[in-house]
């Protein structure tokens, strides 16, 4: 009995102990979770990111110190941000809340990063975590807010510094190019001083050259304004010969007498570039050559068209089937040393002394040549000289002007890709002329008076090859129109039509000497021939002066 009692007591004791142990274990568990809870609580409260927690019923449950600091309204009892919708509305100004809602349903966990300028000077990066809570139907939303104001300010300062640096570089490059122009202006103005009394013709010539330099300066600023975009100003097919033929005059004042510049170029080779950019390229190359000739010497500029096969071997393989023109600038000067050669196209790399060059010439050339899909080849030997060769793709000229003869030997003229502006106030004559010009292949712009012609050309972006204008027109007459037209479009060739003899007694208006004048009624073939000749740029003036033939003047009034 005693044994049984003892056993029962032992069992009770064991049971009690077990119960105690269970109780202690449970309490320990609770304590442990409390410790964990406190630990998490502390971590969340003191974390340097703003923290917000919305429960599955979209109510704000938890915020931390940083969040309350960032969004002070959270401290208020009646804070409007205490639901998910209100919060998202506030953060994203209504734009994202719908999207968030949808995404929330389709996925259990998502992370979104938005940078948002909350208040004027403050920028927060919001890192938002969306969490689908596993134990409930709804979703919980956890939001982390990071203050990135400092980083943003630093980024801004960095950008500013970079901008200033770029500006400094640009200023250096521009100063270099402008100094070249200024030396042209300076040189010629001195030459004017010298010959002012003896040779007035020379004065006019030199002042024209100065004006050319000013024009190039204007072109340069135009180029500069697009520098940031690394684009060439209005690239279009230009005739290399046109640029090269002006190069001698342009460079004369900046080349020493002991330096001989020879130019040898093909005519009619066209490349896609702008006149100003090509002038800049060639000027820079020649100036480099000059600087390699401290004692004077010889600079040769030549052009030669080459086909794909004759390209230097390391260029073959790209741009198949294209023809290239090779512009070569060579000197017999100091040559480029082995150390310099690998770096010569680097921007700001220069061997010239300070103030002599910004180190942008060749890097600019490299950029422009690349933009034209061309290549640069350098052949140099120290003490022997340097040859720079630029290979540029030749533009296939879509414009054509042909003469064909029919069986009777009558010549017909055919033009393609050219635009003509026709200014004529007489409607029937205008229609008639238009038909004739369209037949020749022209695109025709029509104007019934001078002012309209000006407006039309202002709206028209492409080249206008010819202005054909009646001399006598109301408001702005043909001669005035031609004068203004050539001021805005100096490349347009002008042809006058008149029912009156050129400058005879019947005419009140005087067509400028040397102008192209055709009598009315217009002989279409003669017009075609004149246009053909003008396009082939023979520079010969075909002034069909009809002063000695007055008989037609009475029947046709312009």
């Amino acid at each position: 009995m005693a044994v049984l009692l003892t056993q029962i007591i032992i069992l009770i004791l064991i049971g009690g102990l077990a119960a105690c142990a269970a109780m202690i274990w449970r309490q320990k568990q609770a304590l442990a979770s409390m410790v964990t809870y406190n630990y998490l609580e502390d971590a969340i409260e003191s974390t340097p990111m703003g923290f917000l927690y919305f429960d599955s019923r979209d109510q704000l449950r938890k915020t931390n110190a940083m969040a309350r600091q960032m969004l002070p309204c959270l401290k208020d009892g009646d804070c409007p941000l205490k639901t998910v919708d209100a919060f998202l509305d506030f953060v994203f100004a209504n734009r994202y809340s719908k999207r968030f809602g949808n995404e929330l349903q389709s996925s259990s966990y998502q992370e979104h990063v938005f940078t948002h300028d909350f208040m004027e000077a403050m920028a927060y990066e919001e890192r938002i975590y969306l969490m689908q809570a596993s134990h409930s139907q709804g979703a919980a939303l956890v939001v982390f807010l990071t203050d990135v104001t400092d980083i943003r300010m630093r980024e801004l300062r960095f950008q500013q510094t970079q901008k200033l640096e770029a500006l400094g570089r640009l200023a250096g490059g521009v100063a270099h190019d402008f100094n070249n122009l200024i030396s042209i202006v300076d040189g010629y103005s001195r030459m004017i001083d010298k010959c002012a009394h003896e040779d007035p013709e020379k004065v006019v010539e030199y002042s024209q050259r100065i004006r050319k330099a000013a024009e190039r300066g204007a072109g340069l600023t135009k180029q500069m304004l697009l520098f940031g975009q690394h684009k060439m100003v209005e690239p279009k097919p230009i005739d290399l010969a046109e640029v090269l033929s002006q190069l001698g005059d342009l460079l004369e004042p900046i080349l020493d007498k002991s330096t001989i510049l020879s130019l040898d170029f093909e005519r009619g080779v066209r490349v896609n570039c702008s006149h100003d950019a090509m002038t800049q390229i060639l000027m820079n190359l020649v100036i480099n050559a000059r600087d390699a000739l401290p004692e004077g010497g010889r600079i040769k500029v030549t052009t030669q068209t080459v086909n794909q096969k004759s390209l230097p071997s390391h260029f073959i393989g790209t741009n198949k089937g294209r023809n290239y023109v090779c512009i070569s600038v060579s000197d017999n000067g100091t040559g480029i040393s082995g150390q310099v050669k690998p770096r010569m196209f680097e921007p700001f790399f220069t061997t010239k002394s300070q103030g002599q060059g910004a180190g942008l010439g060749l890097s600019m050339i490299y950029g422009l040549v690349k933009e034209m899909s061309g290549f640069i080849d350098v052949e140099t030997e120290e003490g022997q000289g340097t040859t720079m060769r630029l290979y540029l793709p030749v533009c296939v000229d879509k414009r054509k002007n042909d003469v064909t003869a029919d069986l009777d030997g009558n010549e017909t003229y055919r033009f393609e890709g050219y635009t003509v502006m026709l200014a004529e106030d007489e409607p029937d004559l205008r229609a008639l002329m238009k038909e004739a010009l369209v037949d020749m292949g022209f695109e025709v712009l029509l104007a019934e008076n001078g002012n309209q012609a000006l407006v039309q050309q202002d709206d028209f972006q492409d080249d206008i090859a010819f202005l054909i204008t009646d001399v006598v027109m109301p408001e702005l007459n043909g001669i005035q129109l031609a004068d203004l037209f050539s001021a805005i479009r100096p490349d347009t060739r002008i042809i006058f039509l008149s029912a009156f003899p050129a400058n005879g007694s019947l005419s009140k208006l005087e067509v400028p000497e040397g102008a192209n004048l055709l009598p009315k009624p217009v002989d279409v073939k003669r017009l075609g021939q004149l246009m053909h000749d003008l396009l082939n740029d023979n520079g010969e003036v075909v002034n069909t002066n009809c002063g000695d033939d007055e008989s037609w003047a009475n029947s046709y009034q312009g």
Partner: protein, 136 residues
């Protein structure tokens, strides 16, 4: 040349003295002698406020410190409307052309320009303004 131009009353809005006198000189060569000057957009707006039906054309520099030419143009267009407006600009990019167009510019001329170019532009914008009036 140009009876059309000689009677014009022109307001120049330009902050730089040299540029103003250069323009005045060029306009004089075209027979335009009724010229008014404003040193900035604000002064231009004040002038136009009292004389909007008196001035035939505004020539305005784009780049001015206190109020840009485009801003001046915008305010002018809200206040009055249709006076022909020639913007003088040193810029060449398409963006600024588009910006000026959307503000209601009648025409623009790029610096530097000759007096022949100026005359052509004046005629162009007068013809444009006349067309617009006829169409409206």
């Amino acid at each position: 040349m140009g009876e059309l131009l000689s009677g014009l009353k022109v307001l120049i809005v330009e902050d730089q003295q040299d540029a103003r006198s250069m323009l005045r000189h060029m306009l004089g060569e075209l027979g335009i002698n009724q010229i008014f000057e404003a040193h900035d957009g604000r002064e231009g707006l004040r002038f136009m406020d009292s004389a909007f039906d008196f001035v035939d054309m505004v020539i305005c520099d784009w780049n001015m410190p206190s109020m840009t030419g485009v801003e001046f143009l915008r305010q002018l267009r809200t206040a009055d409307g249709s006076v022909p407006f020639l913007m003088v600009t040193g810029r060449a990019d398409m963006d600024s052309v588009v910006e000026a167009k959307s503000a209601g510019v009648t025409g623009y001329i790029r610096k530097p320009f000759s007096h022949r170019e100026l005359e052509a532009k004046l005629r162009i914008i007068l013809a444009r303004a006349a067309n617009e009036e006829a169409n409206s």
